[in-house]
Amino acid sequence: MEKRVTFKGIWLPLLLVLPQIVITAVFFFYPAGQAIWQSLFIPDPFGLSMQYVGLGNFEYLLSNSYYRASFVTTAVFSILVTLVSMGVALYLADRLIKGPGVYRTLLIWPYAVAPAVAGVLWLFMFNTRVGVVTWYLGLLGYDWNHVLNGEEAMGLVVVASAWGRISYNFLFFLAGLQAIPRTVIEAAAIDGAHFWTRFRTIVFPLLSPTTFFLLVVNIVYAFFETFGVIHTITSGGPQQSTTILVYKVYSDGFVGQDLGSSAAQSVILLVLVGVLTIIQFKFIERRVHY
C-alpha cells in the first residue's frame, strides 16, 4: 500500500520519525542486543568480569531439568488459559448475541482489572485461611490447599488468568458472530439442521479467522502478561509447579542474579515470540484475500 499523493522533503520526515526511532533503539534494540550478547557469557558473582562460554548457557538450560519442566508448565498453562477463556467467551457470545447491552457491560469490565489485582482477588477467595471458597469446599469435605498442592495451584492461576481474558475474547467473538448473516443460519434451521450441526457446519467455519487470531493472541497473553497473576498468587510455587518461562527469567535474573542464564532465557523467549508473530502475520495476509 502506497499513497499516491505525498509531500516533498527529506529532513522533516526524518525529524518526525526520530522520536520513535530513538526510543525504539535505546529501549528495544539495544537491550535485545545486550540480551543476546550476555547470553554468551557467565559473569562472576561480583560482576567484575565475564567469562565467554559460547552457547554454554543455552546448553546448560536445555539440559537443565528445571528449565525443561518450566517449558512443560508454560505449555500446559497457556493451553489451559486459552481453552478456558475462549470456550467460555464463545459460549457467552453465542448466548448474548441479541441480549441487552447491560450484559455486555457486565462482561467487559474485567478487562480493566490488572492481572496482578485479579490474582489478589482470586487469592482472597481461595486463601487457605480466610478464603470463602476454601471454607465452602471444606464444608463439602474437600481440603483445598494451593500452597501445598501443585495441581490446585495451577488450577487457581489458570482460572485467575482466564477470568480477565474472557471479556477480550467475548468482544471479538461477538463481533465475529454478528458478522454472520442470520439468513444462512435460518436456512439451515429450515432444512432441519440441529443446533450442533448448525454450529459445526456454518458458524464455526465462518468464525475461524476470529478464532485463529484469538488463539495466537491468547497464547502470547498467557506467555507474558500473566506474570502478575503468578507472582501474586503462587510466586511460582509450590515446587516450581507454576513457574512459567517469563517468571523464570525474572526469578533467575533478579532474585537469583544469574544474569547469563536469564539473558539466554530472554533470547529463547524472543525466538518464541518471533515465531508467533510470523504465524500471526501469515494469517493476517491470508485474510486480506478473503
Binding site: 526510543i23 471479538f172 524472543l270
Partner: protein
C-alpha cells in the same frame, strides 16, 4: 501511589500517541531515504512485551540513572509499534484528494497534519487512549523492578508489597481496599467509554 499510577498511565498513553502519530505521518505521507528501513525497525517491535527483555532494559535504565523516576517508568513502555500501525492503517484510508487539495492550496505538510489529519483522527486517538491508559495503569512487573523507593510505587504493584512475608497474617481488609482503589479508575474508564474502548480494542489488535 494513585498519583504515580495516574502519571505513569497518562505518560504512556500520551507519549505513545504523540510519537506514533508523528512517525505514522512521516511514513505514510513522505518518501524519504530509509523509509522502508524505519518501517521495518518499528514493525519488529510489534509483539515483544517488556517482560522478555527485562534484565538488559533494567541495566539501560540504571545506566541513565532513571531508576525511581517517572521517565524510567514511562519510556521503555512507549517503545512499541501497535499505535504506529493503527495510525498508519487509518492514514491509508484518508482520501488522497485531501492531501492534494492541501498541497494545491499551498499548505505546508505540518499545516496539513494539524488542520486536516489530526481533527480527522480524533476518534481513533480517543479510542487508543482508552486502551493505552488501561495498559499503562495495569503494568506490574516493570514498576516492581525499577521503583525501590516506596514514594514511587504504583498502586497495582503496591498491593503485593502489603502481603506479609513469612507466616505473618495478611491484613486482608487493607489489601482488599487497595485492590478496589486500584481497580476503580480503569474500570470507570472502560464502562464510561465503552464504545470507544471496544473500537480501540478491535482496531489496535487487528
Amino acid at each position: 501511589m494513585m498519583l504515580n499510577s495516574l502519571i505513569m498511565a497518562m505518560g504512556i498513553a500520551i507519549g505513545k500517541i504523540i510519537i506514533s502519530l508523528l512517525s505514522a505521518f512521516a511514513i505514510v505521507y513522505f518518501r524519504f531515504p530509509g523509509r522502508r528501513l524505519f518501517f521495518w525497525l518499528i514493525f519488529l517491535t510489534l509483539m515483544l512485551p517488556v517482560e522478555v527483555r527485562i534484565v538488559p532494559t533494567y541495566e539501560v535504565i540504571a545506566g541513565f540513572g532513571m531508576l525511581n523516576s517517572y521517565s524510567g517508568l514511562i519510556f521503555p513502555l512507549i517503545a512499541s509499534a501497535t499505535a504506529t500501525f493503527l495510525f498508519r492503517q487509518f492514514f491509508m484510508t484518508v482520501p488522497d484528494e485531501l492531501a492534494e487539495a492541501a498541497r494545491v492550496d499551498g499548505a505546508s505538510p505540518m499545516r496539513f497534519f494539524f488542520d486536516i489529519l489530526l481533527p480527522m483522527s480524533r476518534t481513533n486517538i480517543a479510542a487508543l487512549f482508552v486502551i493505552l491508559f488501561i495498559y499503562g495503569w495495569n503494568q506490574y512487573l516493570w514498576p516492581l523492578l525499577i521503583t525501590t523507593d516506596p514514594s514511587m510505587n504504583t498502586i497495582v504493584m503496591g498491593i503485593k508489597q502489603m502481603f506479609p512475608s513469612g507466616d505473618d497474617v495478611a491484613d486482608w481488609p487493607v489489601i482488599m481496599a487497595t485492590s478496589i482503589l486500584a481497580m476503580i479508575p480503569p474500570v470507570v474508564v472502560v464502562i464510561s467509554m465503552q464504545k470507544l474502548f471496544i473500537r480501540g480494542l478491535v482496531d489496535s489488535e487487528k
